[in-house]
Amino acid sequence: MFNNKKFLSILLAAVFAVLVLAGCNSEVGNASNDSANNEETDSSSNEGEVVELELFSTKTENPETYQRLVDKFEAENPNIKVEVVSQPDSLTVLKTRLTKNDLPDIIATGGNPTFGELGRAGVLKDFTDSPLVDDINEGFLYQVKDIVSYDEENVYGIPYAGNAVGVLYNKAKFKELGLEIPTTWDEFIEVADKIEAAGEVPFYHTWKDAWTITVPWNDLVINIAGDDFAQSKTEGEATFIDRYSEVADKMLTLRDYSHNDVFGKSYADGNQAFANGESVMYLQGNFAVPAIKEFNPDIELGMFTLPALNDADENMFVASVDVLFTMPKDAEHPEETMKFIEFMYEEENATQYMEEQFAISAMNNVTYIDPIMEPLKDKLAEGKIRQAPTHYYPAGFPAAQSIQEFLIDGDKDAFLKKMDKDWDAAVAN
């Protein structure tokens, strides 16, 4: 049959074929995509044919809710099929697809740096004149512009849902101790003092997990360090030393109103401990509520804003855009895509989303808010909300770890100097 040489050469040829294919797989992938796209465009021009849209979501918690809404949409629009895609590490996937010019039809993401990058890349549709934008909360709208660029005026994504961070509190214990919701920093500390005097723990810090430190940190920073910090710092006009000193002091104050193993407890420990009444307050976001209720379904919860300042009217809280909808500028099926997006913003559907996902609506006309978050309502309506400032920190700037180190050793001057130095290094690289 084969002689030895022939056999080897066939094998080697096969090896090279595999290598060559692997080497240019991106082009092969694109080519097949293009042909698929062409087919779709052809078919969409025929009336009555089915258009398929890809809804690419970067959030892993809500695909079931999307699917329920998509089912409803498909029932109303038999010509449009929507496929919900939610995969791990989706932001990286999105960035990769941007470089391949292969953006999904509908993008559901948050107010994150990747969205900012897409906005700056100029590949997204400009929604500035869309009627949908008129109903959006001005605080959230400010964020989606700001994340794209410091003085951006165009809207490249329509905010849909937000999350809030602040202070979760145990209503039963507040009543028992005769406490009221504090609206200034001094009142806040007074409440904490009263709780300690009653022999209870004011806050259950879970600072073994460094990210949980950024929860109160962010609330303090937006009120104290100023909106323009990231921009000014990068331009060399602001430093941590002059803007963050008060933030650092207040973090130390909060640290001391807690249990005695602040850096030994994790987020999961904290949810359980707070649910079981081991502390009266808990510095967390609304996203922790489902986990807390799992440990204790009967807990009476409430949430108020962390009053970072002594001027009650000035206080803002961190509420970030958790979900926004956007689409590519050169969409293949612009009409069908817009139809789906408009459907999502209809009051009934948006309300269903907010209820199921325990989220804050970004639309002024969708007024549903879970009773737990009732005290946030006024600030929300006034637009006194800001994006988490850590989102503006440059990539490779180890903020959470540095803050954790500082809270352990308490050396403020060294900490602020290190923050300045690390920021400059991260920007330079």
Binding site: F263, D269, S402, I408
Partner: protein, 286 residues
């Protein structure tokens, strides 16, 4: 002839897969370490910038010193303990097989599960024990203390690694001929002398392989650190692998971390070669 074909069929696919999934990415990584690639998008060559940046990066230097300290200490502990356990398990004792199975158990458990179980022990069991015994130092989770967290990490790493190294030492001990012990006993050698003059020299090849394997394993530490401390508090327990992963895949610092990985690869190869060179010198043959 036909036989030879079969061998090619058996070996070449493996070579192709190895090349595709190991060699090719390695070369790619080395290539990107000379660029400013972010993991996606455009890039340009930056020469040796990434390698020079290494020398002014405190975080990376700290990761190196932590990883080396941790690896050396853990390697010593693992080898001492597993040799000790292997000697015990090799003796004629009751339940020998059962005990061997039990000592091997940690090796088949997933590192993440071990990490979470020990995480629970450190954050709940030990502090409660400390509180009830009145030992102040134990009342807090040691993983939350930048000066003590490494102890917890070494403890868990050693606990798991001992299982595998014990098996290797056991295999080594089986190769020592019984006649030597009988002869030594007739000459009146004590157990201590027996160990140092017969057992240890004769299992030296296994000692070499154990030291090299254990050290390499610890130098690559990643998963149980993620499960226990995630590199914290601060960056006090951040290993090089964890830093490379975070920097490259979370912070978009792909090119710099590729350079870091290249340096680290060179360091690991050097260490392994040196270890083998020095340890093999003292191996004896019967």
């Amino acid at each position: 002839m036909a036989k030879k074909h079969t061998f090619y069929v058996m070996t070449i696919p493996a070579m192709v897969l190895f090349f595709l999934f190991q060699t090719y990415p390695t070369i790619q990584g080395i290539f990107y370490s000379f660029t400013n690639w972010k993991g996606y998008g455009d890039w340009e060559f930056v020469g040796l910038d990434n390698f020079l940046r290494f020398f002014r990066d405190d975080r990376t230097q700290h990761a190196y010193s932590f990883t080396f300290g941790y690896s050396i200490l853990s390697t010593i502990l693992v080898n001492v303990i597993s040799l000790f356990v292997a000697l015990g398990l090799n003796a004629k004792i009751k339940f020998q097989k059962t005990l061997r199975a039990i000592y091997f158990l940690p090796n088949i458990l997933s590192v993440l599960i071990i990490g979470f179980i020990f995480g629970f022990i450190f954050s709940h069991v030990i502090p409660e024990l400390g509180a009830s015994l009145g030992i102040g130092l134990l009342e807090k989770n040691i993983l939350g203390n930048p000066n003590l967290a490494w102890i917890g990490i070494v403890l868990v790493a050693v606990w798991q690694a001992v299982a595998f190294n014990t098996i290797l030492y056991l295999a080594g001990l089986q190769t020592v001929p019984m006649e030597l012990y009988e002869a030594a006993r007739i000459d009146g050698a004590s157990r201590w002398i027996e160990f140092w003059k017969i057992t240890f020299p004769l299992i030296a090849p296994f000692f070499t392989i154990n030291v090299v394997v254990a050290m390499r394993e610890f130098l690559m530490a990643f998963d149980h650190i993620v499960a226990l401390t995630n590199g914290g508090p601060g960056t006090s327990t951040e290993t090089i692998s964890l830093l490379i992963y975070r920097g490259a895949f979370q912070d978009g610092d792909f090119a710099y971390q590729s350079a870091n990985a290249v340096l680290y690869l060179i360091a690991i190869v050097l260490i392994s070669v040196l270890q083998i060179y020095f340890l093999q010198k003292r191996e004896v043959e019967l």
